[in-house]
């Protein structure tokens, strides 16, 4: 029955400490949070950990949320911030970017399945791409969630697809 309630009702209940209401918000939003974490971190296990941390942080800080209808957008922002903290905390950022740049330059000679190719995409392209496939292929929804224009999302998805094709084609040629 609680399933029928809108986010703002569930948020209000969660703000009073109702864990069962928050559990429904988790069920409703977890996969989007996971998509953001995967898009930013490019690592499935890290994405699982940070997605869980994000939902927990969301619960602990839900009283700070003023506009309860904005929960979906707010929890994604919590997730993105935690991903950035995670990269920073592990002194990951520098090594991560250096590795990405190096990977971008090198030809496809090793470990080049689809997952590797996605991992090698720049984060600005990878995040909208991952969200697009997690979000029923709705560029409009992603534009709202990332707070960028619809055409901006389309451009990034297109760039990601073309770059992905290039990486996968390199792989096939190198295997030959």
């Amino acid at each position: 029955m609680l399933d029928d309630f809108s986010d703002d009702i569930l948020v209000a209940a969660s703000q009073r400490g109702d864990k069962s209401a928050y559990a429904l918000l988790v069920k409703r939003h977890y996969r989007h949070v996971f998509a953001v974490c995967l898009g930013v971190l490019a690592n499935v296990h890290d994405a699982e950990d940070i997605a869980q941390d994000s939902m927990l942080r969301g619960f602990l800080e839900i009283r700070k949320l003023r506009d309860s209808e904005q929960f979906g957008w707010w929890i994604l922002r919590v997730a993105r911030n935690l991903c950035i903290d995670f990269l920073r905390r592990k002194r990951y950022a520098k090594a991560f970017l250096a590795r990405q740049a190096a990977q971008g330059r090198q030809t496809a000679t090793e470990n080049h399945d689809l997952e590797q190719a996605i991992r090698r995409l720049p984060q600005e392209f990878r995040l909208p791409l991952v969200m697009y496939y997690f979000d029923n292929k709705s560029a409009k929804t992603i534009a709202e969630k990332l707070n960028i224009s619809h055409s901006g999302v389309c451009q990034r998805i297109r760039a990601a697809r073309k770059q992905l094709h290039k990486l996968l084609t390199e792989e096939v040629h190198n295997e030959e």
Binding site: G17, K19, V26, K27, Y30, L56, L60, L164
Partner: protein
């Protein structure tokens, strides 16, 4: 022709991915019917599209387990209400400490002021008495 194909690659990528505006599909399909190179490119992108869709679909298989893990982690924590009471309590204690410290500083400052002033006036009086 080649530059036309280069431009068309954007539209092919958009069409296969599902973001090409409907009004542009006719031009795109017209070009595909005439250009075998672009048809091959479209076919390869279509294969990759299926790979991508399958790749992301596999995450849905254990999404329920991940959601349950997150819910279990939340259930192990105190409710926000309890957390807030503790943090509000800490703030009150912290505020009281600051207020007491400020009051003590004012009292010490006023006392020092009177002591110094009293000493100074006494010394002046002594000087006046000696000079007389």
């Amino acid at each position: 022709m080649k530059s036309n194909c280069d431009k068309m690659k954007d539209r092919i990528a958009d069409f296969i991915t599902g973001i090409l505006p409907e009004e542009e599909t006719q031009t795109f399909q017209q070009h595909l019917s005439e250009c075998s190179a672009c048809r091959d490119y479209a076919l390869r992108l279509q294969e990759e599209e299926q790979l991508l869709t399958g790749f992301f679909a596999k995450f849905d298989e254990n999404m329920t387990d991940l959601e349950d893990e997150a819910i279990n982690a939340i259930n192990r924590f105190d409710t926000p209400g309890q957390t807030t009471v503790i943090s509000v309590g800490k703030k009150i204690v912290k505020n009281l400490l600051i207020k007491h410290a400020a009051a003590a500083a004012v009292i010490v400052f006023v006392a020092l002021y009177f002591i110094i002033t009293y000493t100074w006036i006494s010394e002046i009086n002594e000087c006046i008495l000696l000079s007389m």
